[in-house]
Amino acid sequence: MRHTLAVLVENQPGVLTRVAGLFSRRGYNIESLAVGETHEPTISRMTIVVDGDDLVIEQVGKQLNKLIDVIDVQDITQAEYVDRELVLIKVNAEPSIRGEIMQIVDIFRARIVDIGYHTLIIECTGDEGKIRAIEKSLKPFGILELVRTGKIAMVRGQKYEED
């Protein structure tokens, strides 16, 4: 099963290497890893999607925790969380078919961020399902390049009581 880990690390050179090195050395499968500074500039946050059974995931968490530069590890898979990923897709887009592509872009509430002679670059943000869907929809036109940021995720806030 795929798990989403929220990992806080010291914002220091080498941290990413240590984390990535740990995954490769112990044979864990990273599906995606996104990292960036938090509101506290000395701390970075990684969102790691990793595939494995419960035993493997437990080990991943424990081994991550052993790294001195890792401050906190949370498996948020079971929590209510918001996740987003950003993708840029360059598609074949001869003027004659641009209308069709723009319709798809509208449906996904994506944006066109570059127009070339024969191509468009589309920016789309969303959860995994949405990213997969837009990719599938654009495929018939011919995808020339695609880049994804990897998933970032955050546990939802406590809900207001309804009364």
């Binding site: 010291e10 052993k66 001195i68 401050i71």
Partner: protein, 556 residues
């Protein structure tokens, strides 16, 4: 007052209580060596940096204090790698200082540049590349803290040359704080209570004691616990000395070359109490048939060890010593009468054994004699790797912690001699033996020069079979005696070799010469090599073939 980086290092080492460092100089560490020249810290000049790392390791294991080694950049640093990996696998606290090219030269393939923090990433507990001399003191404090607390391990500090020349105000921080490093605190009492009850209910319990008992300095507690509960104790290779192997409750070593009775006891037990041990594959044999009826209590300071290889029913995470203390208070004493009878039967039926034959020298006999002659002495045994190591583990009954030092996790041939150097430096009054093979000794034999230089009366007992014996044994048993690249047709004359180094050499070919030779060696205030010419194709038994169940032993 401002000090240079090199001076800061020397001062910091003094603050850490370091008395001795093992190292080898070079261009990138010239400024450091210039300051060491005036420092009260003793420097032991090894003959190869691998020797420095192993000596620091042996020193740490023999004394319980962290070991320190120093190497220059590039090849000096890479020569440390095996020693660092060895310390990592066996959880030994060492601090390795490596020289590095100037900060501005890093990344340009400069002369003698090697990315040593990158190279050692998977084999250190932590590492630092110091980029600001103002951070140097705090970095050293942090390194010592990390290396020696929690599950100990090696920490590397990479020192660009200009950092060791630059100046900073020296202030040694009494402590450092980490956001991401916590040493497990007290273990949850409810868990201890649960363990105490499970122990009371057990009828066939076994204690399985590892190196963690020794690093936690908990041998006394282990003994009290075992004697109070009357539970038999088996130990790992690194656990040798955690419990006296002559004790009636001792089963000796478990695993691939463990005693038959230890392997039976573990396999038929209904409760395994693992203490500071990690269920290594050389211990468990085939995992899915390991101790099928046992519940498992696992005491360990490293939470990642819990459930890593074997399912654990009651984990007790924390320092072994206080946990054992609490457990001794709370434990319910189980009825182990029947079980101990069964174990006595196994002991009688399947003792460790070998046959002494007329006119041939048996390695087991040599070890027994080394044991006899040192058992009442303040002695430290180190080993190389291979058959020599396993015979030592089987026939040298360790009685006290920090008296048996061996490369367990990495299985590093060439560990024993430099480790003996470190042990002898740390414990000058001890009688030190390196139990060696003719292959292993050649891997780091240059350290004999170190032993001679510092007048270390180390005794090197080479069990000389003119084979890479352990590999030959596998080839005999599993490859139809096809001895591919395991025979040494020509060996150096070890007696002359010893003499060439300025040490003493002896050769022993017959059983009756063993004892006098050992006595002479111990009485000699210099390093000694004894070349024991042993039965060439003697095997280590019992043996659990790799990947087999523990009960599937051959040769017992």
């Amino acid at each position: 007052m401002k000090l240079t980086g090199a001076e800061i290092i020397c001062k910091a080492l003094e603050y850490e209580g370091v008395e001795v460092v093992f190292g080898y100089p070079g261009g990138a560490v010239l400024p450091l060596y210039d300051k060491l020249y005036d420092s009260p810290i003793r420097h032991i000049l090894v003959r190869h940096e691998q020797g420095a790392a192993h000596a620091a390791d042996g020193y740490a294991r023999a004394t319980g204090r962290p070991g320190v080694c120093i190497a220059t950049s590039g090849p000096g640093a890479t020569n440390l790698v095996t020693g660092i990996a060895n310390a990592y696998m066996d959880s030994v606290p060492i601090i390795a200082f490596t020289g590095q090219v100037n900060l501005s030269a890093i990344g340009r393939d400069s002369f003698q540049e090697a990315d040593i923090t990158g190279i050692t990433l998977p084999i250190v507990k932590h590492s630092y590349l110091v980029k600001d001399v103002n951070q140097l003191a705090a970095t050293i404090r942090a390194a010592f803290h990390i290396a020696t607390t929690g599950r100990p391990g090696p920490v590397l500090i990479d020192l660009p040359k200009d950092i060791t020349i630059a100046q900073a105000e020296f202030e040694y921080p009494p402590q450092v704080t980490f956001r991401g490093y916590r040493v497990p605190g007290r273990c949850d009492s409810a868990q201890v209570y649960q363990a105490a009850r499970a122990i009371g209910e057990a009828r066939k319990p076994v204690i399985y004691a590892g190196g963690g008992v020794i690093s936690s300095n908990a041998a006394e507690e282990l003994r009290e616990f075992a004697e109070k509960t009357r539970i038999p104790v088996t130990n790992t290779l690194l656990g040798k000395g955690s419990f006296p192997e002559t004790h009636p409750l001792s089963l000796g070593m478990v695993g691939m070359h463990g005693t038959a009775y230890a392997n039976y006891a573990v396999s038929y037990s209904d409760l395994i109490i693992a203490i500071g041990a990690r269920f290594d594959d050389r211990v468990t044999g085939r995992l899915d048939t390991f101790a099928p009826n046992a519940r498992v209590i696992h005491i360990d300071i490293d939470p990642a060890e819990i459930g890593k290889n074997v399912r654990v029913h009651i984990p007790l995470v924390g320092d072994v010593k206080p946990i054992l203390k609490e457990l001794i208070q709370r434990v319910e004493v189980p009825d182990t009468g029947e079980w101990l009878k069964q174990i006595e039967q196994w002991k009688a039926e399947y003792p460790l054994r070998y046959t002494n034959e007329e006119g041939v020298l048996k390695p087991q006999y040599v070890i027994e004699q080394i044991w006899e002659i040192t058992r009442d002495k303040n002695a430290v045994i180190t080993t190389e790797v291979g058959q020599n190591q396993m015979w030592a583990a089987q026939y040298y009954k360790a009685l006290r912690p920090r008296t048996f030092i061996s490369s367990g996790g990495l299985g590093t041939m060439g560990f024993g001699l430099p480790a003996a150097v470190g042990a002898q430096i740390g414990r000058p009054d001890a009688v030190v033996f390196d139990i060696a093979g003719d292959g292993s000794i050649q891997m780091t034999v240059q350290e004999l020069a170190t032993a001679v230089q510092y007048n270390l009366p180390i005794n090197i007992a080479i069990l000389n079979n003119r084979f890479l014996g352990m590999v030959r044994q596998w080839q005999e048993l599993f490859n139809n005696k096809r001895y591919s690249q395991t025979e040494f047709p020509d060996l150096p004359d070890f007696v002359k070799l010893a003499e060439a180094y300025g040490a003493v050499g002896m050769r022993v070919t017959r059983s009756e010469e063993v004892r006098p030779a050992l006595e002479r060696a111990i009485a000699t205030p210099k390093p000694v090599i004894i070349d024991f010419v042993i039965a060439r194709e003697e095997n280590v038994f019992p043996m659990v073939p790799a990947g087999e169940s523990l009960t599937k032993m051959v040769g017992c």
